[in-house]
Each structure stands twice: as structure tokens, then as C-alpha cells.
């Protein structure tokens, strides 16, 4: 799967003979090595679920969160190098603040995604910087419905119905495609997202993980926030229950 750059991969300011920028592709590798993020655009909102892998029992739980707020109405979930993501979060917050100062209304998420993409793309043009090693997901519930955008390290941005990024993105994508997202309500979407995270989590390679869940939609009036404790507990038990079901099915076979 990995191809050798052989000399054309030393800086982002160089193309390879077959027209690739290897540094950007290597940045994508950094994204693929991180814990999985699942985002679902349901009928009336968007659900984020993040598999936050814990490497040591000594860490305080809840440190190094991977879901953040950009403005009250926009949520950001990150996959990849967390330190890079921290800078992008600051940039996004600055953009949102400046837009509100200039125009008096909250920044539309599509516009923010474009600005962030332009910023990330700038770092893929020069030899003295490296591209950002993270994939940013932006979610908001605006007047024309829920919107989910993803920005890649190359600076490309797409709008999504559902997306999975990180270690288990292929498996998670297959699971997402089984869902009928346009008919799914947000409360069920949260449960489904949690279930997918539990399903794709690799018990062997990464022992401990923390689940992070957040939502934005009609239910909380477009204000992005972490899900309330009861909803979180319900989603976790739903996820664990479906895991056991799957185990039972395996046993039967």
C-alpha cells in the first residue's frame, strides 16, 4: 500500500514525476493512524462520535478532548495529530470571531470550511513548512438544515452525509453505508454512531479508549454541545449491547 517517494518526498514544494505531492499523502497517513471519528448527518442534526485511544492508565480521564466548539453553533471533531488540530481550532475560532465582528451574524459553516481549507492548503505549498496532519470535521445546524463538512490535509473540502476518518475508517464507512441517514433521527443517530465506534474498535491493538459523543441539531436549537449524561449512558449501553449481540451471533455460527 505504501509507495516509496524516492527523493521527491522531501518537501511539499516538489511534485513527483507522476504528479503527486508526497508530503500531503504522508500527512494523510498521520490521519489514518489516529483513533476513529464517525460523523452522521441525520434528518434533524449531526452526531459526532470519537474513539479517543488512551495509551496510559495514569492519564486523567477527559484530557485531550477531540471534539471542540468553534462558535456556539459549530462543532469541530479532529482526527490526526492533536497539536496540529489545536492550531487549526484557534484559526477557526479567529475566523468565526472576525466574521461576527465584520458582519454581525454568526459565520455559516460552509464559509468557515472554505476559509479553513484555504489555510490548510497554504501549508502544502512551501518547502519550509509541513502540511497539517489532521482531518477536520465541521458540523452545524443552520436555517437550511444540518450541514457536515470535512477538510483534508491537502486543503480539499467536501460536504458529507456521513463520514468516518482514522484507523478503522474503511470498516466504519461500510457500517455507515448500511444506515438510512436521511430518515434517521438525531437521538437514534447518536446511538448508531456510538455503536459503530464500539464495533470498529480494535481490542487487541488499543486496549483502552474513551468514547466522546456530541451533537448539534433541532433538539438543542443549533447549539453544538457534548451529549447530556443520560443520553451518553444510553448510547454507550446500546453500543455495548449490540456488541454482545454480535458476539452471540458469532458463537452460534
Amino acid at each position: 500500500m505504501s509507495s516509496i517517494g524516492s527523493g521527491y518526498d522531501l518537501s511539499a514544494s516538489q511534485f513527483s514525476p507522476d504528479g503527486r505531492v508526497f508530503q500531503v499523502e504522508y500527512a494523510n497517513k498521520a490521519v489514518e493512524a489516529s483513533g476513529t471519528v464517525v460523523a452522521l448527518r441525520c434528518k434533524d442534526g449531526i452526531a459526532f462520535a470519537v474513539e479517543k485511544i488512551i495509551t496510559s492508565r495514569l492519564y486523567e480521564s477527559g484530557s485531550n478532548k477531540r471534539i471542540h466548539n468553534v462558535d456556539k453553533h459549530i462543532g469541530m471533531a479532529v482526527a490526526g495529530l492533536l497539536a496540529d488540530a489545536r492550531q487549526l481550532l484557534t484559526v477557526a475560532r479567529d475566523e468565526a470571531k472576525q466574521y461576527k465582528y465584520d458582519y454581525g451574524v454568526s459565520i455559516p459553516v460552509k464559509y468557515l470550511a472554505d476559509r479553513l481549507a484555504m489555510y490548510m492548503h497554504a501549508y502544502t505549498l512551501y518547502g519550509f513548512v509541513r502540511p497539517f496532519g489532521c482531518f477536520i470535521l465541521l458540523a452545524a445546524y443552520e436555517s437550511d438544515g444540518p450541514q457536515l463538512y470535512g477538510v483534508e490535509p491537502s486543503g480539499v473540502t467536501y460536504a458529507y452525509h456521513g463520514i468516518a476518518v482514522g484507523k478503522a475508517q474503511q470498516t466504519a464507512k461500510t457500517e455507515i453505508e448500511k444506515l438510512k441517514l436521511s430518515e434517521l433521527k438525531l437521538e437514534d443517530g447518536i446511538n448508531e454512531a456510538a455503536k459503530i465506534i464500539y464495533q470498529v474498535h480494535d481490542e487487541v491493538k488499543d486496549r483502552m479508549f474513551e468514547l466522546e459523543l456530541s451533537w448539534v441539531g433541532q433538539v438543542n436549537d443549533g447549539k453544538h454541545e457534548r451529549v447530556p449524561t443520560q443520553i451518553f449512558a444510553k448510547a454507550e449501553s446500546f453500543a455495548k449491547a449490540s456488541l454482545e449481540e454480535a458476539d452471540d451471533d458469532d458463537d452460534e455460527m
Binding site: D102, Y103, G104, V105, P108, Y111
Partner: protein
């Protein structure tokens, strides 16, 4: 201008200064007494929201002191295809603001790939007025239609305030018709009732305010676009004239 050597004579800048000097430009057109008076849109401006859009109207007089410089001015200035601003105060200041905001909105709509919201236009106008509040004399109303909130009217008066109102008046002539508004405005009027309200209001103000006069220019803005109506002097509704 030569930045390195600022004392050098710059022919271009000198000519520019000459061209824009007020009295030199107009000494052959305007009588001497009026050349030192600032040009103001004395004005009456009215804007009202109705279900589906807004109706805006203004008189057509621009005065320099007692001299009527333009008797058929257009004070209804488009900022975008479906957002207009009504200008009162100094003609130069309001024109400058309208130009700058038009540019800003043009740029923004290219970036966002959709027409800007009326609130954003009103904010840009208000920001300029507030930033230069000690220098400008501009009282503006921003009104238009966007697909998020429909017809909206925002008042941006002298100091740099921004407030959305269902109906608002502006300019020197407005003082004479606040009573008319209080007595005759009702919420949820139909489009024709609003039109009559705006036209009658402007006519009454023209009758009483020396700085307002001429004809009435009215525009109806809704999702289908802008309809402009010019009601000439003799077609204005009849008002009891002592």
C-alpha cells in the same frame, strides 16, 4: 506620491486636488452664496416591512442651503440586487458609505456564492457610521429581502446604532410625520396599504419640510426582485394645503 521624498512636487496630485476643490468646480454653476454650504439630502425617507417584502420611499430634493441642487435625486441606492439603502444627511458621506458597502457585499457574495443577508448589509453600513461617527453626518435606512428572514428594515442613524424595525422614518422631513405614522400604521398591512402609507407620508413631509420636496420615489422589494415607481409632483395624493 513620492514616499521617499515627500517634498517633491507631484503634478498628478496637484491636479487632483484642483479638480476636487469645491468652489473651483462649481463657481460657474452655483451662485456664490451657496458654494460654501454643505450639500445635504435634507430628505424624508420611509421604509416599511410587509409580509413578503419591504416598501421604501423617499423625496427627491438635494439642497445646498436654500438652493435646490437636484430636484429629482434618487435617494434609493442599491447595495445589492435585493437590498437598498435610503440616504439622509450629507450627500457626500452617504454616497461614500453606499459605495464602500456595495463593494464589501459584492466581495462577500462572491465568496459565499449566494446573495448577502440584509442584516449583514445593515451591519456594514452601521460599522462605517460608527467608526467615523465624529466625521460623518449620515442617517441611513437599509431595507431589502433575503431568503432567510424575508423582508427586513434596519435603521442605522447618526451615532452608529443598528436596530431592526417593522417601520421607520428618517431625514429632516420625518419629524413632521411621526404623528402620521403613530396614527396610521398598523402591523400586518397588505402591500397596497403599505404603499399608500409610504406615499402619503412622503407627501405630507414634502408639504411641511423645506428641505424635502420634488417627487416621490418608491421601490417595492420582494423575492421576485425590485419594482421602482416614481410618483411625479402633480400625481402625489392631494393634501389639504392652507
Amino acid at each position: 506620491m513620492d514616499v521617499l521624498n515627500p517634498m517633491t512636487y507631484d503634478a498628478e496630485e496637484d491636479q487632483l486636488r484642483d479638480r476636487t476643490k469645491y468652489s473651483q468646480m462649481d463657481k460657474h454653476i452655483i451662485p456664490v452664496e451657496f458654494q460654501q454650504q454643505p450639500v445635504s439630502t435634507g430628505t424624508t425617507i420611509v421604509a416599511v416591512e410587509y409580509d413578503g417584502g419591504v416598501i421604501i420611499g423617499a423625496d427627491t430634493r438635494t439642497s445646498a442651503g436654500t438652493f435646490v441642487m437636484n430636484r429629482f435625486t434618487d435617494k434609493l441606492t442599491p447595495l445589492t440586487d435585493q437590498i437598498f439603502c435610503l440616504r439622509s444627511g450629507s450627500a457626500a458621506d452617504t454616497q461614500a458609505i453606499a459605495q464602500v458597502v456595495t463593494y464589501q457585499l459584492d466581495f462577500l457574495s462572491a465568496e459565499m456564492n449566494e446573495p448577502p443577508l440584509v442584516r449583514i448589509a445593515a451591519n456594514c453600513v452601521r460599522r462605517m457610521i460608527y467608526q467615523y461617527r465624529d466625521d460623518f453626518l449620515a442617517g441611513m435606512i437599509v431595507a431589502g429581502w433575503d431568503k432567510k428572514l424575508g423582508g427586513q428594515v434596519y435603521s442605522c442613524p447618526l451615532g452608529g446604532l443598528l436596530v431592526r424595525q417593522p417601520v421607520t422614518l428618517g431625514g429632516s422631513g420625518s419629524t413632521y410625520i411621526w404623528g402620521y405614522l403613530d396614527n396610521n400604521y398598523r402591523p400586518n398591512m397588505t402591500k397596497d396599504e403599505c404603499y399608500d402609507f409610504v406615499l402619503k407620508g412622503i407627501t405630507l413631509a414634502i408639504t411641511r419640510d423645506g428641505s424635502s420636496g420634488g417627487c416621490a420615489r418608491i421601490a417595492i422589494i420582494n423575492k421576485d426582485g425590485v419594482e421602482r415607481i416614481d410618483v411625479l409632483g402633480n400625481d402625489l395624493p392631494k393634501v389639504f394645503d392652507l
